[in-house]
Amino acid sequence: MNHLLTMENLDRGTLESLLDEADDFAEVLTRPIPKVPALRGKTVATMFFEPSTRTRMSFEKAAKALSADTVSFSPGTSALSKGESLKDTVLTVRAMGVDLMIVRHQATGAPWRIAEWLDIPIINGGDGAHQHPTQALLDCLTIRQRFGSLDGLTIAIVGDVKHSRVARSDIFAMTALGAKVILVGPSTLLPLDPEAWPVTVTSNLDEVLDAVDVVYLLRVQTERGGASVFPSLAEYAVKYGMNTERLARLRPDAVVMHPGPMNRGVEIGYDVADDDRSLVLQQVTNGIAVRMAVLFRLIGGEQDA
């Protein structure tokens, strides 16, 4: 593995070995000093051309837990605002001696372009509405810890699939690990060609509630125009929001997940987010462990020739 750009081409064995290693690193994070010297002397750059709280902090925490140094880039305060091109920006940062770059960009494919320009591993930290591979890994780790395996599980991904890079990554990872995925949402937010994906689709959340093991709620992405294709947020909440009444109709061992940031009261009810069956905070904690596993895989130890 030279880069982590997408979940589309990862086979089951690679996914499982990454999750196994993430479980190992989760144990490291419970130690009195949750830090190991594995990446001492390496420098990791977080290049976030689009805002982020949890992903950037999670990568930085993961890098620091492996004793790597971190440098970070934010477009607002950088020479990008003076007109420097993307290519010059990343070449400049590379020339400072970084060993790996984590890239988030609003344009689909930007991490691939950067991977062509540079000679170091690139991790896609989210590109447009396309892919967000470490999110898929942390989701699968969280589900695996809860159920032991994804084999045979049914997972409903609910909401704004159209604008969701999380969904695009999760669909490939979850089905590769043996789960069945149902996409649920208003038809304007579902893919136009669902038969091209390994999924089934429905616009009726209530009819699948008692058939699923995991309800994975997507954020309504108002900044990508997600709210302009249905009548109102209130109507969305009535038809697709995970409220306490719907929670009660799930199977007793079913769980609720959300990649964050949550719009409480829209896609997830205020009380549901804090319910015992919500794995939202466990997802956040697992994010650090899977990012440690990915960083260590890409720049730790002897590299594949």
């Binding site: 290693e21 190992d24 490291v28 830090k35 190991v36 002897e302």
Partner: protein
């Protein structure tokens, strides 16, 4: 490949080392026994079993993964890290590190770093099945099962039933330079 220690001898040195630990530390109250993964773990478990018998109070062995602390991480094949699991706090206690073979001393240096990240032991002692010489660091063992002079190219393998299917110590000529 020739055998240099039988199953019976391995059992005997384990019991002797357990008695030496008790004598040196005036009992087992203040000690925490920690096996370095992979084969220090079964060694620590066996010492713990003898210690529990001779002192009449249970000694719980721990395990320590040092993979992330090695100084040659960049040049060796990647291996999965194992679980570090130490059942008690090591602060102020005497930690007895157990490992199968003492060779260059680099594993023990890594283990001392790993221990430092878990707390501040009052003292650290080292128990090994075999000391084969060729130290590259100023490190020595407190309890040694057997000193075996070796050539640098030789390979010493200490085997335990629970991992390898048999107990004993073997030497392999290795690749002559």
């Amino acid at each position: 490949m020739r055998q240099v220690m039988s199953e019976t001898e391995l059992g005997r040195v384990t019991r002797r080392i357990a008695h030496e630990i008790v004598e040196r530390n005036h009992g087992t109250e203040n000690i925490v026994l920690v096996g370095i993964l992979t084969r220090g773990k079964p060694f620590a478990e066996r010492i713990a079993k003898v210690l529990s018998e001779i002192e009449g109070r249970p000694v719980l062995p721990g395990s320590l993964d040092i993979g992330m602390y090695r100084d040659d991480l960049d040049t060796r094949p990647k291996t999965r890290i194992g679980p570090t699991n130490i059942p008690e706090s090591i602060d102020g206690r005497t930690v007895i590190l157990a490992d199968d073979v003492l060779f260059t001393g680099r594993t023990i240096r890594a283990a001392l770093d790993a221990l430092t990240d878990l707390g501040r032991p009052g003292a650290v002692q080292l128990a090994v099945v075999v000391d084969r010489g060729h130290r590259q660091l100023p490190i020595r063992a407190d309890f040694v099962g057997k000193n075996i002079p070796t050539a640098a190219a030789e390979r010493v393998s200490v085997r335990f039933e629970e991992i390898d299917g048999a107990d004993g110590v073997w030497i392999d000529a290795g690749v002559e330079e």
